[in-house]
Subunit: 320 residues, 2 copies
Amino acid sequence: MAKNFADNLLEAIAKKRSPVCVGIDPVYARLPAEIIEDPEMNDEADSETALDAVREYCRQIIRIVAPYVPAVKLNIAFFERYYHEGIETYYELIEEAANVNLIVIGDVKRGDIGSTAEMYARSALGDPDFADLDRLVAPDAVTVNGYLGLDGVQPFIDVAREQGKGVFVLVRTTNPSAAEVQDAALADGRTVYELLGQKVEEWAVGEGLVGESGYSSVGAVVGAADRDQAIKLRAMMPHCLFLVPGWGVQGASAENVAACFKSDGTGALVSASRSVIYAYDQEIAGMKYLEMYPSEWAKCVEQACKDFVADVAKVAPSPG
Amino acid sequence: MAKNFADNLLEAIAKKRSPVCVGIDPVYARLPAEIIEDPEMNDEADSETALDAVREYCRQIIRIVAPYVPAVKLNIAFFERYYHEGIETYYELIEEAANVNLIVIGDVKRGDIGSTAEMYARSALGDPDFADLDRLVAPDAVTVNGYLGLDGVQPFIDVAREQGKGVFVLVRTTNPSAAEVQDAALADGRTVYELLGQKVEEWAVGEGLVGESGYSSVGAVVGAADRDQAIKLRAMMPHCLFLVPGWGVQGASAENVAACFKSDGTGALVSASRSVIYAYDQEIAGMKYLEMYPSEWAKCVEQACKDFVADVAKVAPSPG
């Protein structure tokens, strides 16, 4: 059988020797002064000027991190914010990332019932019926919300199977109030997130989904806010790659992240967003990088990316 | 205190004497031949031509239903399918609907963690930081996914409070596999959807959210596939308006829908999509309308809309 998304991702991870992903969540007000033409401009600026700056910044981020990481994750919310023009930029940046051989995850968290999910799957993962839209490069994988059960996810799985793409279903998120719903105790002793985890593992072993690597095109978003949760889910979902957000900012500690990997060093893709892309911003990264490279924002980001790779390497079991 | 979204919606419902909403989910292949210039064209058509047809069709649908219903619901997935150009059309149509005094619900089902949800809230409900984007008319309310707990929903609630807008949180959906997750039994005897329902009621009574009508800017999406579920949720969520999808196609029977209303005739907005907007399509509506108005698609839609209003009137308790 042909390689699936998981095979491709694991190959890219092996090539770069690092199971990490840089999350690109651009906020205009945080961009480096060198990119914002008028440093007096803030979020009150003209949206077109702001979007131009965002586009240029993201292009540079992609070029800076490409030598070090196998994948980037673009969060569509930060582009939707500029309405349709932002969406155009989102697809342009996916193409830029694909051109430097990065695997691209579209963090879209879509989820709806069957026929609507089919529409979302087409724009989110590609495979449009319209031949002229083929020119647009869609992400290699997307995140989806599983609260609606299998038929909200199935259309994404179908496109993933046909097109060699991937789907990461939200299982346990890292936000403070995630526990309100996801940690609720079920009558059978499980939690809601464990129920979701078992469902996702069931979906993941569906026909034509498990690749040469033993991993499925269907993975899971698993925050590493709690080590026990990560251990449980890793054991419960042997066929699923985990997309692990929150490194650096959302409190995913090193030992929690380690629990998302199998002992062979595979099984997780650790994502960091703000701690890398805003490494030059004192509010987010402190003075660490600014002292090393005063007023060289790109150098700060590059160094933070290298540090991120090195830090995860200390934590993730060595592959092979 | 100023009127909130619920007050405005109830006023519009009173004016039109009907608690219904037409869902606009345009699929190119289903458009009337009169709108598709080349009737041989199908989903393989050029996307621009298709989107032009979709736009024209939706404009006409809006004009046809405006005299009879207080609200329309635009499902963004059916526009995202045309990438950024589709999103532009989505906002154009919101403006068209607002211009004929329809309340517009954006069916976007977004949901993400705090800072990202804030971005989504800005594009989904308006209130952009960029003054030049104010020209865009955003929906009066949107649907959101509550799987991430309060902090995925809070930014939407904040925008709703400040801007007199509304939020409908998914509680129980009508798709066949919804039960997999939403009906799971909790250790405390509730189901997952009841847990969500109670959370949403808690969020709904937050400061500055409950209007003159006693209803909050925060409502819920409650499918009426099961009467007992509807009864339970109606009792549990006195401050929440229910957006009730699925009339006609998704199996929401009349008596189930009735259970979504309070005895005073308020409390629910019943939505029908395909059974109205494709009333001229034999596959969906049979021959009923085609026999009345052969080859007059707009007349079919108008009649189906009037029938929908009359049918819900039989079911919903008479207001006050």
